[in-house]
Amino acid sequence: MNLDEKYRAWKERPTALNVPPDFAGEVMRRVYQEARQRQAQWNWPGVLEFFQRNVSFKFAALAVAALAGLSRLWLIFFAILQP
């Protein structure tokens, strides 16, 4: 056997690559743990996205903003008119 053949025999030799029986199971256990932790944490970009997408929330926010604006006006009127 010459060097090339020996080299090929070495690099192409069948190696006992046994994937541990529960490798995927163990990875998934850690992945679920990670997913649970992620859910438990406040996801601020997600919250903002929800507000942006939710139409009824937009109307509610506008109503609150309008009420807040009116109250401020009432305060101004109250200050000017001094009933």
Partner: protein, 180 residues
């Protein structure tokens, strides 16, 4: 069989179970690569698991327009293997002295002994050469993909593979008298 990007979309939409398909699809090549870079079966299993967990954590940053999922996953594996070796060995792999090839002219070396000595030679190669060699020659990965994983130019990768191959051949020549 669903494509990688379809599975990734499902995972990102909240179907965590779908990630198992990716794990089962890539566990063998990732473990195979790690076993030839870390050389410690217990440790390489741990690090391979870490690779998949990191991939899950960072999945939203994967851009299918920029690379294949396999390239992206092997890049994570490559970085984690480097970090693991740094933690294990305070010395840089590049600075390690080369292990002298055992030579005993009194008897012919069996294939098993030669393979073991070549494995030892591979272990002593500098990390960059070792990774390029393992990915190209053993994992049969295209050179372009290795270049993307290593973040190096194609010519650099070809040069690293050639240098690694030359060193392996030099080791074989040292043993030549013993090879039947």
């Amino acid at each position: 069989m669903p494509e990688d990007f379809e599975i990734i979309k499902r995972v990102l939409d909240g179907d965590v179970d779908a990630f198992r398909i990716l794990v089962e699809r890539y566990q063998r090549p990732v473990l195979s690569m790690m076993r030839r870079l870390i050389w410690d079966s217990h440790r390489c299993e741990e690090i391979s698991q870490d690779v998949f967990v990191r991939a899950f954590q960072k999945l939203s940053t994967f851009d299918p327009a920029r690379s294949y999922f396999s390239t992206w996953l092997f890049t994570i594996a490559r970085n984690m293997s480097i970090n693991a070796l740094k933690k294990k060995l305070p010395l840089l792999m590049e600075e390690l002295p080369e292990t002298p090839v055992f030579r005993n002219p009194s008897h012919d070396l069996s294939d098993k002994e030669i393979f073991m000595q070549l494995d030892e030679k591979l272990k002593t190669l500098p990390g960059k050469l070792q990774r390029a060699f393992v990915l190209a020659e053993i994992e049969q990965m295209p050179y372009e993909e290795i270049a993307r994983i290593e973040g190096a130019r194609l010519g650099t990768i070809k040069s690293r593979i050639n240098r690694a191959r030359a060193r392996i051949y030099a080791a074989m020549k040292d043993m030549n008298g013993d090879i039947r």
